[in-house]
């Protein structure tokens, strides 16, 4: 049973880090998968440290689920390798990988009670009965399910079922737990609550989690690092802050920050800053230093929340407020920039200081919040 990596039954469920909590938990090298002519996953590579919460974020068809399924062993890669705790598992059957998996549809065994469901993986590993009872009890307690052990899955709510599924995946302390949109079937409020619960449990137990979702907010709330995927490629694999503030591609800037894009050309570099001449207004904009040569056509990307309205002669450009919508603590404004017919520039400013429709405003942003992307790169 040693190959399952839980040979030490003395591992406490709470408090202790798992035995594998040092170094890499999982690495993926040049993973590739095609379905006929369609490349589902294209040379994906990444290393995940023990205790890390990593999210694969992307819309459907981005390859995030296929990647997860290849790690789990439910789908076989065309090429590439997957290593878990230093062991090459690329060609192993799912049952030999010793991973945990939480499915969107819960997939609790309907003929077993909650207790039996959670005990199932331990039974497979030949854990003694007393030990099973103790660990199942502890795990259910962590998930707030004490007293539910005797129930059948169908007697539980969706949220409770997903908590049981979570318990079942972590009770045997697999080195990595994979979660495939586990909150996708729940309503918004329950989802928010469970996001926090899962994150808390993950941190307390030091679990290594790979999480798949299409929900940007969910990814930002839960993850240590996020792999943004698109068309089978990992666009960027970074911390939420880096992705948000330093997107490497227009797609990431758009997908995570819903950025405004303005066409422009690099005018010159000035110490720590780069100056860009905006095509539409003809005015100059100060961005943080960028290595692109002068004269390069660029896209300027700034998130709505990082733009401010100011006096007309203070900003990098001027325009007329065409619409302003009050949304609770914020006002969302759309500003028509002078000098052409570009799309409305979207601003999010704190309510109370918001501009009103028809007002003439200047727009400004900190140079540090302005990202530049060369135009000839793939479109965002």
């Amino acid at each position: 049973m040693a190959e399952f990596g839980i040979a030490a039954p003395s591992v406490k469920v709470a408090g202790n880090k798992p035995a594998t909590a040092t170094g890499k938990a999982l690495s993926v090298v040049a993973l590739r998968k095609t379905y006929g002519d369609v490349v589902a996953v294209d040379e994906a590579s990444m290393e995940i440290a023990a205790g890390e919460f990593v999210t694969f974020l992307g819309s459907s068809g981005s390859g995030k689920t296929t990647t997860l399924m290849m790690i789990a062993g439910f789908c076989e890669p065309d090429s590439g390798t997957i290593t878990v705790g230093g062991r090459d598992v690329t060609r192993l059957a799912p049952q030999k990988r010793n991973l945990g998996f939480v499915f969107q549809q819960y997939l609790l065994f309907p003929h077993m009670t909650v207790q039996e469901n959670v005990a199932f993986p331990l039974t497979l590993r030949g854990v003694p009965k007393d030990e099973i009872r103790r660990r199942v009890g502890e795990t259910l307690e962590i998930a707030g399910l004490s007293g539910f052990g005797g129930r059948k899955p169908r007697e539980l709510s969706g949220g409770q079922q997903q908590r049981v599924a979570l318990c079942r995946a972590l009770v045997y302390r697999p080195p990595v737990i994979l979660m495939d949109e586990p909150l996708g079937a729940l309503d918004k409020k329950l989802r928010d609550q469970l996001q926090v619960e899962i994150k808390t449990i993950q941190q307390e137990l030091g679990l290594t989690v790979i999480y798949v979702t299409h929900d940007q907010e969910e990814a930002l709330v839960m993850s240590d690092r996020i792999a943004v995927m698109r068309n089978g490629l990992i666009e960027q694999f970074d911390t939420p802050r880096e992705l948000f503030e330093r997107p490497k591609t227009p797609f990431v800037a758009d997908f995570l920050g819903a950025a405004n894009f303005l066409p422009g050309r690099i005018d010159k570099h000035d110490g720590e800053h780069t100056l860009v001449r905006l095509t539409q207004s003809g005015t100059l904009l100060k961005a943080r230093r960028h290595d692109l040569p002068s004269g390069t056509e660029v896209k300027v990307a700034v998130q709505p929340g990082r733009l401010r309205a100011c006096a007309t002669d203070d900003g990098f450009c001027t325009g007329t407020v065409e619409m302003a919508t009050y949304v609770g603590t914020l006002v969302r404004a759309g500003v028509r920039i002078d000098g052409g017919d570009g799309p409305l520039v979207r601003l999010e400013v704190p309510a109370g200081r918001g501009p009103v429709a028809g007002e003439r405003v200047g727009i400004t942003a900190d140079a540090d919040d302005v990202n530049l992307f060369p135009t000839d790169e793939k479109a965002g």
Partner: protein, 288 residues
């Protein structure tokens, strides 16, 4: 049907007509049950006096019934085993794998259910007669399996479709091997369907008449053939008692299927609900 609700009189009329039709269905059965205890076993109703003589006569010396009953039970048991083997493998192939010509295989399975049984029986007669296998219990069981196995296949297809395949994936993700998954997940979930398939295969064979009649010989006569013979050639009043026993047996089997199905479905509907009853009557319904 709120929109079509008729007046009170209309409702009463509908209920009355429905009751008459239900009597039309139920009376022949009730009459047999009652007559089997009547001192005049033939065509007289209601009985003038009660007796158990016809039941006693079943097991009297020289009675043909015990032999017919044991032959039918033997044949039905064999047929059930064959049908379950065919049913489990075929349902697995049709539901859980990639099968070329799947619809052709499915049509082949449905064939014996829609082709007139007399035609199937004639074909089997032409097959077994030259092989000198008429009267062989194995030949009769093989013949009955042609009719019983499609029913088992349909029931098991519906059963397998009702089991989320990803439950097996979930078990594998926790480290369960193929055998463990089959033993601990798939089999317990499929058990109600397998029991239903077994009961239906057994009844199908036990009640089968056409094939039995063509394949029986003078010494090997199944229970339905013996009943038929008693009704046409040799007047034997015990046939009423046998019929009553067959009715009791059918009701028992049906109740068993209903119970298994009800427990298997997690006791959601009422045991006597229309849906449960329809499901019992048509256990492979979802598969067609």
């Amino acid at each position: 049907m709120m929109e079509l609700r008729k007046s009170l009189a209309g409702r009463i009329a509908l209920t009355a007509v429905a009751t008459v039709i239900l009597l039309f269905l139920a009376l022949p059965i009730v009459v047999i049950l009652v007559t089997s205890f009547s001192n005049n076993a033939f065509a007289s109703f209601p009985p003038e006096a009660w007796t158990l003589n016809w039941y006693k006569a079943l097991f009297a010396d020289g009675s043909k019934w015990p032999a017919a009953l044991s032959l039918s039970a033997l044949v039905a048991a064999m047929s059930t085993v064959f049908s379950l083997i065919i049913g489990v493998t075929a349902a697995t192939a049709l539901v859980r794998s990639e099968l070329p010509l799947r619809s052709a295989v499915f049509a082949l399975v449905l064939g014996p259910l829609v082709i007139p049984q007399i035609v199937t029986a004639l074909g089997l007669f032409l097959l077994f007669e030259p092989a000198a296998m008429l009267g062989s219990p194995i030949a009769i069981a093989l013949g009955h399996t042609v009719l019983a196995s499609p029913i088992a296949v349909l029931i098991l297809i519906a059963t397998l479709r009702g089991i989320d395949e990803r439950l097996e994936d979930a078990a594998a993700s926790m480290g369960a091997g193929r055998l463990t998954i089959a033993r601990k997940i798939t089999f317990p979930l499929a058990a109600p369907g397998m029991i239903a398939a077994a009961i239906f295969s057994f009844i199908t064979s036990f009640d089968e008449f056409y094939i039995s009649q063509f394949l029986s010989s003078v010494d090997t006569v199944t229970l339905p053939v013996q009943v038929y013979n008693s009704l046409t050639f040799e007047i034997d009043p015990s046939v009423t008692a046998v019929s009553a026993i067959l009715i009791a047996f059918a009701i028992l089997a049906l109740g068993l299927v209903a119970l298994v199905r009800w427990i298997g479905s997690g006791r959601q509907d009422s045991l006597l609900s229309v849906e449960n009853t329809v499901g019992v009557a048509n256990p492979g319904g979802e598969a067609v």
